[in-house]
Symmetry: C3
Subunit: 357 residues, 3 copies
Amino acid sequence: VTGKRWTQLRSQSRVVAVVDLNLKGTGQVFFQENSLTGMLFLLGIAYGAVAAKTPQVLVGAVIGLLVSTITAIVLQPDEPSLRKGLYGYNGVLVGAALPTFLGITPMLWFYLVVASAASTVVFMATATVCKTWGVPALTFPFNLVNWIFLMGAFQFTRLRTTDLNPGQFPSQVTGAAAHIDITPGFLVEALLKNIAQVFLINNAITGAIFVVALLVSSVWAGVFALGGSALAIGASLAMGAPVPDILNGLYGFSAVLTAVALGCVFYTPSLRVAVFAVFGVLVTVAIHSMLVSALTPVSLPPGTAPFVFATWLFLLPKKKFDPVQHEYLPNGAAEPGQLMQAKTINSLTPQHQKENQ
Amino acid sequence: VTGKRWTQLRSQSRVVAVVDLNLKGTGQVFFQENSLTGMLFLLGIAYGAVAAKTPQVLVGAVIGLLVSTITAIVLQPDEPSLRKGLYGYNGVLVGAALPTFLGITPMLWFYLVVASAASTVVFMATATVCKTWGVPALTFPFNLVNWIFLMGAFQFTRLRTTDLNPGQFPSQVTGAAAHIDITPGFLVEALLKNIAQVFLINNAITGAIFVVALLVSSVWAGVFALGGSALAIGASLAMGAPVPDILNGLYGFSAVLTAVALGCVFYTPSLRVAVFAVFGVLVTVAIHSMLVSALTPVSLPPGTAPFVFATWLFLLPKKKFDPVQHEYLPNGAAEPGQLMQAKTINSLTPQHQKENQ
Amino acid sequence: VTGKRWTQLRSQSRVVAVVDLNLKGTGQVFFQENSLTGMLFLLGIAYGAVAAKTPQVLVGAVIGLLVSTITAIVLQPDEPSLRKGLYGYNGVLVGAALPTFLGITPMLWFYLVVASAASTVVFMATATVCKTWGVPALTFPFNLVNWIFLMGAFQFTRLRTTDLNPGQFPSQVTGAAAHIDITPGFLVEALLKNIAQVFLINNAITGAIFVVALLVSSVWAGVFALGGSALAIGASLAMGAPVPDILNGLYGFSAVLTAVALGCVFYTPSLRVAVFAVFGVLVTVAIHSMLVSALTPVSLPPGTAPFVFATWLFLLPKKKFDPVQHEYLPNGAAEPGQLMQAKTINSLTPQHQKENQ
């Protein structure tokens, strides 16, 4: 199916148009408005889910994608964003995440539908707030919904949280975790797994499919994804993060998204931008480690929240701005108002008494 | 006292005018600018507090109401909001909550006065921030102040946190909690207790008084309160939430507020709005469960924060909006500035050197 | 070196100009754009760090200051703020904090450089957000970066978190903590230590140097710092906070900053403003206690976050504002859009089909 043929198909059938919308939604997880990229992402998820004997992750991802997109069609937000798939990328992640972390019970699927629909509302809410400062919502909606519904599951007997880590206090990681021999093969696997884990898949082949999916849409996206992945592996190995987690791609998937976002989506590639993205990746690794520690007592995984927070921090600063200075701010509540205090109380006085004054 | 007679009384006496202000403040907990509603709310609180032999809850609520209103009169914010009671509804809740969760010591009352006064400042701060996106402050100020002063109490020997649950890690609720026989009588009680618990009262009669108070002001408010309550009971029973908590109204009081807010206050009632409100109630139940889990390690109750967060998420999305896209954002800090880097360093050079250049 | 002579020196040498920038950055921790104040602050830090045999705190502070300022020069934000030292005051605190709470390992210094550079980006991000409501970023960037990098350290074998308290659930402080005899000498020490602890130094002489540093720049700053310190001691003793912590200045350093900020920086001093600042200090003490409790499970210290949150809450309320009311909000997502639902789905229909209609 060439690009031209696809455009033709899409223009001939409403079904294909809606499928196109959903594929672009999947592609937008990596900021790519590209149906082929989205199709390859779904293929990679399918491969990884089947290989790990967790087909529920694929089923969940597809349900999440459809439900979040349909919710958007019903709520009728701006059509250009709908066409670009912005109302699907959080849903597909919610749909992949809940069956990854929660046990499969009948009620899980109802829960997943509500969560996926909620992801569209949360996206619209987040985008409204973020627009004030000209930054995108990123996957904040996915992360918020994921945390709400994972944590909420503890209170419902018809759901199972048995795959979440039991709560504990944060403790210093010790060198014992580093006794794995790090071979070049392991490093290549980690390089690819970092990319696969963006969709919660722990599989190097899936990662390779994802790289192809990115290259199809944007060479820079592929380059920055691999670069961010390599840098995250280097930085976390150098700092002594737990080696098994590094090799499973857990220390790099947020970094991959930060690298692509800062390196070639929201800025145009240049040496200066690349240095900025390197800095952003290091901060992403730090925020990831922080969230791993901070969420230990409540059994939550950090998801892609490190990417969201780091990318926001690196997009919010503007080239030219004028911060509020350390000096007198007019119009504060502590100042005497235009009405004297007595007058305010007076203003609560009945009208006829005022007239008598 | 008919409405007309009350208006007449209010216009004859400053005391009655201030009392009116405070009653409306109480009514505004349910978004009702209605003195009679507020009076019935206080009556319901009085009944429940006396029945439970916790008169301190009534005393606290009245002190909190007066202190927060007086603080507003001193700070002189916008008078229309003052007259409508917007500076009282957080204070009355702070005043009811602290004596519910903290032991009664002399220092508690000083603490409660500071907290109630703070609730007015926090309301003004929250409203300033929320206005940016055209959403109301809701009871966020109450919840923030409540959490600050409950958690703070652990560090003070002159306060007692003995009624808060000891901290523990979140754990999966098991079916054992569901062995209570759920009779129709229990369900009717829960339906009313959900409404009473908005003011932290665990009493069905109080709930009935509150329903009357709502109907006096707005039939829709009464209908959506009962509808939200019923839906929350149904959803939480279906998911398998702890039955004793459901029957005590703990799984529904935030949902009741969400239903009223979305169903008939900030939207005008219609089928479409009702469906939206149903969705909002389901998300409120999920957020409530999430906060119950997440706050377990720090011994805090979720308060009405689930209502606040869910209602914000459902009010922020706008019919027509244009989110920031996944594309190049101009004017970011990573771009070369108008001044070259060398120039910036140069600009730090003394003036006379520049002149010599 | 008189002020005139300094200005002359600064105008003769680029090195002195950059030193000036860094000294002002240190002074801005207390909102003072004054090189001499900054120099005395560094002197006080040096004295305290050497006296406690922790020279790493001084070294870290200087590195943090330089790195954050250089990062700002590279990113080229607004030059007036750069000249005033606004890009240094968070870095100097990050640099003092990390070696205070983390063990000294070679990797710590690399970690500290990344954190200090990040503090500049976080400052720019925070200032962009805060500007929307006309409030300053305060030391939020320091606190956020501090928390990220302290919590993150748990996950890295090349860092040591052994000086952080082990995680535990919050527990009620008991009277046993109060058995220390409180002598006037202790109180004077606490009065000064409250001020020294702003830079994480537990030393009364350092506090005295800091008071001189403030008086050099602004008499009101010195007065409000001492007043805020005294009030915090009084309030926390009255409430029964742990006496050793009070005497070590831990219950007052945020209060000192709140008092200066509200009393004479962002408002102009008056009786009304002083009363407002007193209220702000009480709320700061409550927020400090709250954060001590809430952060117990994750081993974090509250830093100056209580000052930041309290000061924001007391600066956000405006004299004249018009909050969003409890009434119908137009343009919400739940309303029927201009396009009917069928039309939206229709709009996804291929163009040629539309033409045929």
